[in-house]
């Protein structure tokens, strides 16, 4: 017992053995848990080699000692702090106010939430068809306006081209005249653009308001009234009509368009991760540009698109989809992928969230590689949430990166955010680029993909401790223009890295299906 720690006290035990009085000094660490007394008693007996007869005696003395010393110790710790009484009470008050429901009744439910509740309920009711048709009708109005705008612009362009060629061919006109004409043309075109722009924008606003009112109203009619009626014992007023329009057909008229649809290289796997407890995930690799990925396909005005249906059903659920979009630090809607995204989202009215531009306005002013901005969407395909991950695109193409690179760390933050916010499907650029460039040799692609795969796998394993949702689907996007050879090597890497442990097997009567192998193109 050379040195005594702060929280140690010495227990002096005096025991009457047959003919002698034994004195023991035993250091006891405080606070001592009462439940450990029997065990500690045994420890004393064995370490001092005492006869078992003293067991009860020691236990009794020990428990008295512990009771006394624990009290002393705790009183010391919980000493009244006379100087800061006021301060302490304020802190307590604050903490009760902030953290307990008793003193902090839940916030008043916001409009967004009311709408979300209404929409979610309608989407999961027989009203679904009506709702989607409503959306579809509004969407086609906007599309029609876009068509008219484009038509007007092209007519104008023709007219202006004619005028310009007349002007230039006319020997009399001077350079000044031509310049003036060009200015006039420009202004005319600008006028048309702006006029349509504001028309569409006001239509967007109008539609959004109309749609939201419509949803809330229908929700009230349909649910609240039905509830009240059923309380009174009546039956539901609204009989449910089978909605034929919901039968989404991949009808004949679609075949023509789907034929023109480009074929996408893709491959998917089902993997089991984990050493004892296997968790199942789907992994998919596909070759496409993210903006193309986000575009609704096979849409016709007459039929409801299955993709839209999917997006709508899961929008307010706990199974969201997200995509990682690489962007430069300025995230400008006038160039790069963001521009493409902007055009895409303008195709139809965003009924649920602010438009992309104003969502992006909220971002912090200064962004550096590894940061990301989140935007939410209801009118793009395959993603409700877009993570705009800031990267230095030029540098990223050239250099070799490692797992400590900011982009990888940003990817980890994205996966964590996704996990904590019920995003269960996420799409990630496999090479951390969206377009191919000269420098990207086959070996470069392989190395880069390996890094991304391995890091993502690590994050997935780590995810278990984050306490959020389980990631269910993991999709990797490879640039559209990679060669088939590179694609197949990227695909072959997936089962290896994600430990699809069974080698490829082509037998049909297998007992364990760790791997489903599909190749479609």
């Amino acid at each position: 017992m050379s040195k005594i720690k702060d929280n140690q006290v010495i227990l002096n035990l005096e025991l009457q053995l047959r003919d002698s009085l034994v004195k023991l000094e035993i250091p006891v660490e405080l606070p001592f848990e009462e439940t450990k007394i029997p065990e500690f008693t045994q420890l004393i007996i064995t370490s001092f080699d005492l006869p078992i007869i003293v067991e009860d005696d020691i236990a009794k003395k020990l428990s008295e000692f512990v009771e006394k010393e624990n009290l002393n110790y705790l009183t010391k710790i919980w000493k009244i702090d006379e100087d800061n009484v006021d301060q302490n009470i304020k802190v307590w008050e604050q903490s009760f106010r902030d953290e307990t429901l008793q003193y902090n009744p839940p916030e008043v439910v916001g409009d967004d939430e009311v709408f979300a509740e209404a929409y979610h309920s309608l989407v999961h009711s027989p009203m679904l068809g009506t709702l989607l048709r409503k959306e579809s009708a509004l969407n086609s109005t906007i599309r029609e306006m876009h068509r008219m705008k484009n038509q007007e612009i092209s007519i104008l362009n023709e007219k202006q081209a004619l005028e310009m060629s007349n002007a230039t061919s006319n020997m009399n006109s001077t350079t000044t005249d031509v310049n003036t004409l060009a200015t006039i043309h420009f202004e005319e075109a600008h006028m048309v653009q702006t006029r349509w722009q504001s028309l569409i924008e006001s239509e967007n606003l109008k539609q959004k308001r109309e749609f939201r009112d419509w949803v809330v109203r229908n929700y009230q009619d349909y649910f609240i009234e039905a509830e009240e009626l059923s309380k009174k014992g009546g039956k539901k007023k609204h009989s449910v009509r089978f909605d034929e329009s919901l039968m989404i057909s991949y009808g004949d008229e679609d075949t023509s368009s789907s034929n023109t649809e480009e074929h996408i290289l893709q491959e998917s796997f089902t993997i089991h991760l984990g050493s004892q407890m296997k968790q199942m995930y789907n992994i998919r690799l596909l070759c496409t540009h993210p903006i193309d990925f986000l575009r609704f396909r096979n849409e016709s005005s007459r039929e409801l698109s299955p993709q839209r249906l999917q997006t709508a059903i899961s929008l307010y659920s706990t199974d969201l989809s997200g995509i990682v979009l690489l962007t430069s630090p300025d995230i400008s809607i006038y160039n790069g992928n963001t521009k493409g995204l902007m055009e895409l989202t303008q195709q139809t009215t965003e009924f649920h969230f602010d438009n992309l531009e104003s969502q992006l306005e909220n971002r912090p002013r200064k962004l550096k590689p590894g940061d990301f901005v989140v935007t939410r969407h209801s009118n793009v395909n395959g993603a409700h949430v877009i993570f705009h991950l800031v990267v230095d695109l030029d540098a990223l193409n050239k250099i070799e990166i490692n797992s400590r690179h900011p982009v990888i760390l940003g990817l980890r933050n994205i996966l964590k955010t996704a996990c904590l916010n019920d995003i269960t499907t996420i799409t990630i650029p496999a090479l951390l680029v969206h377009e191919m460039a000269e420098v990207m040799t086959v070996s470069w692609c392989n190395r880069r993909a390996e890094l991304v795969y391995k890091c993502v796998k690590g994050f997935m394993i780590e995810m278990a401790s984050w306490g959020g949702a389980e990631m269910k689907n993991l999709q990797f996007l490879a640039p559209k223009d990679i060669s088939e050879e590179v694609f197949s090597s990227l695909a072959a890497m997936l089962p290896n890295i994600f430990r699809v442990s069974n080698p490829l097997r082509l037998s049909t009567s297998s007992s364990s299906h760790s791997l489903q192998h599909q190749l479609s193109h």
Partner: protein, 864 residues
Amino acid sequence: MIFNIVDREINSAQFGVTFFTSSQRHDTCGTNGLPLTPNSIRILGRSQYLKSLNHPNLSQYVDIIRGKHERIIVVLEFYTQNLKTLLKTFKGKEQHELILEIGSQVLNGLKFLNKHGIVCRNLCLENLLLDGSGETKIFNFGLYYMTNNGKFVSFPIGNPKYTAPEVFLSGVRKGPSVYSCDVWSLGIILVELVIGEEIWSELKLSQVLRKVASLTHCEGSVFQRLLQEHHYPHIYTELNPKLRDLIERCLDINPVTRGSPSLLLKDLFNKSTKASDTVCINPFAYPEVSVLNNIILSSQLQASVPANLFNHSDTETPVDQKAKASVDHLLKRSFKEIYYLWQLAGGDVFAELRRQGLTRKKPAVLSLPCSMTLEGESAGKISDIKHLHLPDVITQAAQLPLIIREKDIEYQFHRILLFDRLIKGYPYTKSLIHRESLKDIPPYFRAQIWSCLLEISGDPKSIYNSIDKETPTSTDRQIEVDIPRCHQYDELLSSPIGHEKFKRVLKAWVVSNTEYVYWQGLDSLCAPFLYLNFNNEELAFSCLSAFIPKYLYNFFLKDNSVIIQEYLAKFSQLIAFHDPQLTNHLDSIGFIPELYAIPWFLTMFSHVFPLHKIFHLWDKLLLGDSSFSLCIGLAILYQLRESLLCSGFNECILLFSDMPEISIERCVKDSVDIYCSTPRSTLCRKHEPPPKQRKEVHRKISTDSDFSSNSLPNETRNSTSDGLKMEAIPLADLKKEKCPRISGEDFLALLDLNKTRFNKPKMVVVDVRNYEDYNRGAIPTSINMPYVSSFSADGSLIPTTEVNILNSNRGKIIAVVGNRGDSAVKFAEALLFLEFPRICVLHRGIDIFRSGNILVVPSSMNNL
């Protein structure tokens, strides 16, 4: 003060549910480089202990569930009546006796808690429930404890009005608290009861806090001051002196002189330790209920349950009454059982909470942050999800559905009742438990049944207590490295408390088995026992200690190579016996069991499978002996057979490096089949557990009906000659031989000369001696295929009548009988190469039958 279950409210077992969110941890790693354990898991681990507490004045913890987003849901015993709802009725002098009784009951409950190292810190009127018989029960008493004294949550615990002044005055600190702070809360509660109204009901939060703090400067009696404030000064004098004394003592400003609950009880109620304070002595920590009562009840149930309990049809009027009666019985079961059955019947706490709109959460898409920097700082989180604590949200969630539909619930209920009685009768019911376990083991009692099957007896607790688990040893480091990698997908085992218990049990084993060493894998072996006996370390330890000598005898010796090699050699022979094709393939690529099967057997597959699969596997393993695991190994190979057959060495290594999913149900079934169709002597090993134990095991196996197929000899023969018995073969020989040897005993049993057992012969006997020897005397029904002349140069059989017999009997056991030389072994291997299954060699050859009168002259045989 027996926990009176008969008076429980009829027709509704009620469970209270409280829930809260634990604080999210910052995104860092621990010193060992592993990610930190989320707070919710830490809470879950700590709270298990609460489930083991049983006291008449505490409401029983039934379940603790970890939800998504760090939410913790706690299910407890609940009663609608509490002191708050009844507050008005306490007004008046005549109620003082009752109030005093309540005070003493609460103190009893608190004393019990203190003895178990728990401070409540959460006493208030609402948290004191009254059951039907007038017993006061402290509700939600474990919140402070399970959150590690409030450290794992961001909200403050306790109701400000009842909190002792020293708590507020010493600053917002979280940590162990003095026991007497609960006594203060009780004091305030008693004051409220006495005056029949709540104090300070008009005051705002800040005023309440200040009020409590100001009491420290109160001159004279706090009690009197409170009475005056609320205009009841006269009560002070009217009051029962004992009650007045109690309140005065409770409201002592000084936490040291205030005294602990046990001191108050001693001083005021003259109660020293009472019988009801002791925790259950039953080593299985079975919920403490009146045993006698229960047995009577369950026997009644036996009578009425099978047909009627879950019969919910309205048409059958005659049974209605009976059904009703049995429903009442159901409610007489312990809370844990009712809850378990409720869950089986489809009860879901989450759904219940959702239904009552208590877990309303903003849709995920609306609560995403706007952006996040590289350092992980998120900006502009749209909805600031607060970690709100809902202090007393109580739902009467579990109105036990009287219509319980599914058959298996009825079955489970039946099984629970049955095993309940059997376990109470242990050890006298040992054989009955074993027999019933053959059918299945109900999950509810798995921990107890396993202990019974492992024949735990004596006083595990004092044995465990006497083992020194504190003193550092040389294996500590390895244990500490292994534990955070062992079955960590499980919430309990990954919690810090789980780790601590893990470490203690492993250390205890290492310390108490000095002849053995800690091999990696012991941690996995310990995991199922610890999981099942989480609140009962000593039982986990006892099970582990009993399991290892029975199934892994000497596997944990410092030099265990001989034992393991013998085991693996036997495994190879077992594969050869049942699957020659696989053996030939694996031999050809050199993929030997040493490369993959060591962790299987060293951990009895607990390293390979997740816990829920281990449970099913071990349910059967515990009924068999140590050779059963060989059969499990083969059953696993069966499932991978196809991949193995078409894989080369590298693919095989890769395949086993990360075990693919195995269907455990099939695996269990296959291994039982294999076990039953393998003659016991072919599995005989030199390093088996000592015979005493083995005999016992053997006897047990032979009594069971499922396990011994009729192809197995199961009566112990009074053999005159020891030559018929199996004896272990030296390892070097064993490794040389590809086919197992069969003993004379098993041989005779399978041969079944008197045709008493089988209608058709189960075995083909091939005599490989030369023609002359054969004709001089041979085993009846045997065929003669001399080794020297049976095979052509390329290894195939030269066609003869005997070969035809052999071919037509393919699938039966082929016993190769030879002389002293190795011709029989060689012959067997040649047959194996031709993919004949089930080949074995008669141990010690034909000579063993010379003394008996078994051998006959073949020519006379043909004449018969």
